[in-house]
Symmetry: C2
Subunit: 337 residues, 2 copies
Amino acid sequence: MKILLDILGGDKAPAEPLLAAHRALSEDKELELVLAGKKEEIEEFFKDKPEEFARVEILEAKEAVLNTDHPATFLKQKPESSLAVAFSAMRHRDDIDGLVSAGPTGALLTGAVLSLGRIAGVKRPALMTTLPGGGKILDSGANMDCKPEYLVQFAQMADVYFQAINDKKPRIGLLSVGKEEGKGNELTKETYALLKEEKSLNFVGNVEGDTAFEDVCDVVVADGFAGNVFIKAAEGGALYATGLFKKAMKRNIFAKLGALFQMKGLKEAKAEFSKVVDACAPLLGCRKLVLKCHGKANALPLYNSICEAKRLTEMRMIERIAEAVKIHENPGNSPAE
Amino acid sequence: MKILLDILGGDKAPAEPLLAAHRALSEDKELELVLAGKKEEIEEFFKDKPEEFARVEILEAKEAVLNTDHPATFLKQKPESSLAVAFSAMRHRDDIDGLVSAGPTGALLTGAVLSLGRIAGVKRPALMTTLPGGGKILDSGANMDCKPEYLVQFAQMADVYFQAINDKKPRIGLLSVGKEEGKGNELTKETYALLKEEKSLNFVGNVEGDTAFEDVCDVVVADGFAGNVFIKAAEGGALYATGLFKKAMKRNIFAKLGALFQMKGLKEAKAEFSKVVDACAPLLGCRKLVLKCHGKANALPLYNSICEAKRLTEMRMIERIAEAVKIHENPGNSPAE
């Protein structure tokens, strides 16, 4: 099994991706990594780590893709960027199973669709992000303008994914502006009607932004625009509240003293928060695994994502999604229910 | 000047709306209020307050409109509900200037448009909600499916409103998923192009959900679906973070002791939060003033909304919006710029 890691992607490249690669290679003696980055930087980092370096293949890349690069043209404009060489290798080589990158979301998504292509029958691949509290939302930003049937397929793909990992069927909710069936825009109203008919899904109806953090569903389905607005607004709201609490805790010497007494609990709160930033977001529906890490990710979440890529490969996630999509698209082929 | 107050709307009706009415009448000896509610309840409440009751007119209503009532049909289904009698009075009487209600948003918005009608030239009235941090967002839920020209008009109406109240031009941002011009869905991309050309507006470009709380703009423009997702997700994120902090502060006896030292700061934080729940949301674009209060609003925000309705009437807000819309729709009629 070979996983490709983008060494130049994200705010903390190349240092943190290199640390993540080293940790993954030390802990799994079977693992082989392909690292897309600058040859001399990678060699320099591994010069006193020969055992791990023996399982490293370097894909020479000259530069990083930036947020300011256009997602649709970076493959041509920056053919020697780490993402461009990564996608080229993913496309042409059968021995690489997945890509982990903290690079720009737009470039990663567009590059994946253009280079790897979609699984047969998949209308639009979707990005699935973890919410505070542990729920999942898709699409969180890959597809700005969606049709109802895209959203239904997002739900089907998430159903397979969640079931494979958690060994139970997820409760699927539809992001809207009210719980009742008639609430929402044209897209969500049409999607609601279709999801209600999908007997293979555990559809629990509309969920609203403020209840999606509660334990009302496991997976929230949305178009990529609303999904992205949702996760960023939630992040903004959480940071706003955090700011108010921090201010209260630093108000004067007594408040600061009080915070000392709360150190342990505050650390736990911070860890709970980090879980969200640290969770990688898989792109569901492409022919190969693509895992997006937060741009601010340091070595730990990157390491976790490498492990996740291994795990998803082992459980044949791509094949599972392909089979599910095939059955949904051609219900006649499905086993009797 | 007469303001109409919905005595049966909201979770805390009729007690809190009655308290709000009493306070407003005690503090402003010129004010006259029309109260839509149950006659005996209102008379009972005011029986020892004759001075204020002298300036009360009762609009007899038998019941409240509920969240489960259909917004488009409650006027016919519940003709004796407080909102139905309120809208009927607003429509037929020139002496009532504005309506304040904590009733269901959908019913309030649909009822307003059906009963009061739009200002000439207004394509769609929009609800403007206050964000944590003090910014405004519109539309926050009145129009689920929007066209670019609706959003441009939302910006124009908000511009007039903000300028009248704050005596300076607001910075207008467009809710999207990235700062750059090309980011977003078809709606936001087309809207961006139109807003850029609106030289009368101070358009500052796209804003993202997580930056909208920061001081990047004064007014965020969005379609009603995305705007509603935004405010609810922000609320959900803030409540999630608050939950984590509260848990940390209650973790053990020491943490609780620490919280005692922080009491003052925590109270300030709570007050800052309440500002958002307490701010009323005006519906911009109808022929008469309609102010929506939070369903959980108690007497203070309801009282504030009555004051706000007075203030907006005094500054001729409806006429100002009507003039601005007319000038934008017929630029030839505008004074030389």
